[in-house]
């Protein structure tokens, strides 16, 4: 049977399928729905220094092949997270990535220091690309990306990943700055800024007007970003996220160069999707006599599968 294990960041992920930050909650809510042994890692909801109530309703509106969300990083804040939620997450039998967001270098450093005091996480993911919290998107400014990464790397003993936007800033420059500052890898991409208008009322659907588009609609955008970053930075770790809904899209993402694939929107539609994907991926590899999922990662850059 084909091996789905992916060894990266000095650790081993049971499968390349990881739960992206957001729709997965803190992971344990899904333990009844999911066989967590089939999941490579859970990425927590993004934690901020202060508690955040998130945005007013409406926070969701759908569209062809996706949805716009405007949750606004609702979370209990780091102190409450440490006191309550943390203990439940570290009992989960899979790799854990802690997602953090901050609005300044100092806040990032303080938050990362608090996170560094926690054991049980395999990496920190800096969410520098949420489109729903106002202000400028840090991830769109390459210098700011480097600055925030340095803040976190300086106080952290575990690998630091950076989640960058797919639709703003110069992604290659931001990636370069992140890696120079010591980031161990990238999560590409966050949801893409979008808008829908209720034509019955003539007003935007979402309370904050714009939202983040996710779902199959953004798959080609995510693939392009992963492909170009892989091409420019052959050894950077990439978690490819954006519109993965079936085996085919996961294979595309791996072939484009993602080491791991993140499921977000797909989890909202079908809580069982991650384990279905892991199963289907194993079956697909078996049918082709491939021993390991490593054999497909990045092959779109090197002539493909060798079939005609």
């Amino acid at each position: 049977m084909a091996n789905l294990t992916v060894n990266r960041l000095g650790t081993s992920f049971a499968t390349p399928v990881v739960l992206a930050s957001g729709p997965a909650g803190f992971g344990y809510e899904l333990s009844d729905a999911l066989d967590l042994a089939q999941v490579g890692a859970v990425t927590t909801k993004t934690i901020t220094r202060e508690p955040k109530a998130g945005n007013p309703q409406p926070r969701l509106v759908d569209c062809a092949c996706g949805a716009l969300n405007s949750i606004g990083l609702e979370n209990p804040g780091v102190e409450a997270f440490v006191q309550t939620t943390h203990a439940r997450i570290i009992q989960l039998p899979l790799r854990r990535i802690l997602s953090l967001a901050a609005t300044s270098h100092d806040e990032m450093e303080q938050l990362a220091r608090q996170a560094a005091a926690l054991s049980g996480y395999d990496a920190i993911e800096l969410n520098l690309s949420c489109p729903n919290v106002g202000g400028t998107i840090t991830g769109a400014n390459a210098d700011a990306v480097g600055d925030f990464v340095r803040a976190a790397v300086g106080v952290s003993s575990i690998p630091v990943l950076v989640k960058l936007p797919g639709d703003s800033g110069n992604l290659l420059r931001s990636t370069e700055q992140a890696l120079k500052a010591g980031a161990a890898g990238l999560t590409l991409i966050n949801s893409v800024r979008g808008l829908r208008i209720d034509w019955n009322t003539g007003r935007p659907f979402l309370s904050r007007v714009y939202g983040g588009l996710s779902g199959p609609a953004i798959l080609p955008i995510a693939l392009a970003r992963v492909f170009e970053v892989r091409e420019a930075f052959p050894s950077a770790l990439i978690i490819g996220t954006g519109g993965l809904s079936d085996l085919g899209s996961c294979l595309e993402m791996l072939m484009a160069g993602a080491d791991l694939v993140g499921i977000g929107f797909g989890l909202m539609v079908d809580p069982e999707l991650p384990q279905k994907l892991a199963g289907e991926l194993r079956h697909w590899l078996d049918e082709r006599g491939m021993a390991s999922v490593e054999e497909v990662i990045g092959i779109a850059h090197s002539g493909g599968l060798g079939v005609h």
């Binding site: 997965a24 009844d32 949805a67 949750i71 409450a80």
Partner: protein, 283 residues
């Protein structure tokens, strides 16, 4: 004002068990509650296939019956299901259940929007997929020592029709508001308050039905709930059932979180029913 103190943390971090137990009506046995918790937290994460086996439509509404071998029929009053057709990768739609029995799940829906149009047009036998039921049953939240006027607006009538069937002894009166006569033939088991013929809207009709001492359970458009909330905010046991675009349905995505007097709560998990005093923004 957004409150960002400890209750927010409690509401976000914990499953709703505590909440359910705290608000539990006197006549619901602990045993029954345990079973209900098991249903809520347990196995309904899977998409189940269900066939469209009956449908009656009007211009704007449809009453549909879905039946499937493994379709959950033990739906409590106030719970909802998510429905999608084929393996559509888009967000499913949430529908309150109008009745759940061995015959299947009955839904009363407005026929606009992607999934809804499909419901209105699909041939009998079309296979849909259903996930759920989700949400905290009304019975876990209301005071059982009171009788209620049920106030529905449009397709918000669905859970109330379920309520009257299951708890007839708790119903003191009913008001189902519709703009036009369109839905009359679909809901012939109850009298509708039709604005185009009577000139009355649901909250206006309610004034001649409600008497002091009665509670209210309302489900309908936010505008209707607001008008009702302003009128009855001082009264005890007034409950409103809220609607939002549902994402995951299981409480993880926070797409349906709302502010309440005790912090953020999720319509899909702690809701959809809330006591009026929990929702200061509605009044």
């Amino acid at each position: 004002m957004i409150r960002l103190d400890r209750p927010l943390v409690a509401a976000v971090s914990y499953p709703p068990d505590n909440l359910i137990k705290r608000n539990m009506g006197a006549r619901v046995e602990d045993k029954e509650l345990e079973n209900r918790d098991a249903t809520l937290n347990g196995s309904h994460f899977f998409w189940q296939k269900a066939q469209l086996i009956d449908r009656r439509t009007s211009t704007r509404y449809a009453r549909v019956l879905l039946r499937g071998l493994e379709l959950p029929c033990d739906v409590e009053v106030g719970q909802f299901v998510l429905v999608r057709y084929s393996d559509d990768p888009c967000l499913p739609r949430a529908f309150s259940v109008m009745s759940g029995s061995d015959l299947g799940l009955e839904l009363f829906i407005k026929t606009e929007g992607r999934v809804r149009e499909k419901f209105a047009a699909a041939p009998m036998g079309t296979v849909f997929e259903v996930r759920g039921p989700y949400g905290t049953p009304y019975a876990s939240k209301i005071n059982f020592n009171r009788k209620y006027v049920l106030v529905g607006g449009g397709s918000g009538a669905a859970p109330l029709l379920h309520f009257r069937r299951k708890y007839p002894h708790l119903v003191a009166g009913e008001v189902y508001g519709f703009r036009t006569e369109d839905a009359c033939d679909l809901l012939n088991e109850v009298d509708l308050t039709v604005e185009s013929t009577t000139g009355l809207r649901a909250h206006e009709k309610l004034q001649s039905v409600w008497r002091p001492g009665m509670g209210i359970i309302a489900c309908g458009p936010e505008a209707m709930l607001r008008l009702l909330a302003q009128q009855y905010r001082q009264e005890p046991d007034v409950y409103v059932s809220l609607e939002a675009r549902i994402g995951c349905g299981i409480g993880t995505c926070l797409g349906c979180s709302i502010q309440t007097s005790t912090g953020m709560q999720r319509i899909c998990k702690e809701g959809p029913l809330f006591a009026l005093e929990e929702l200061p923004w509605l009044t």
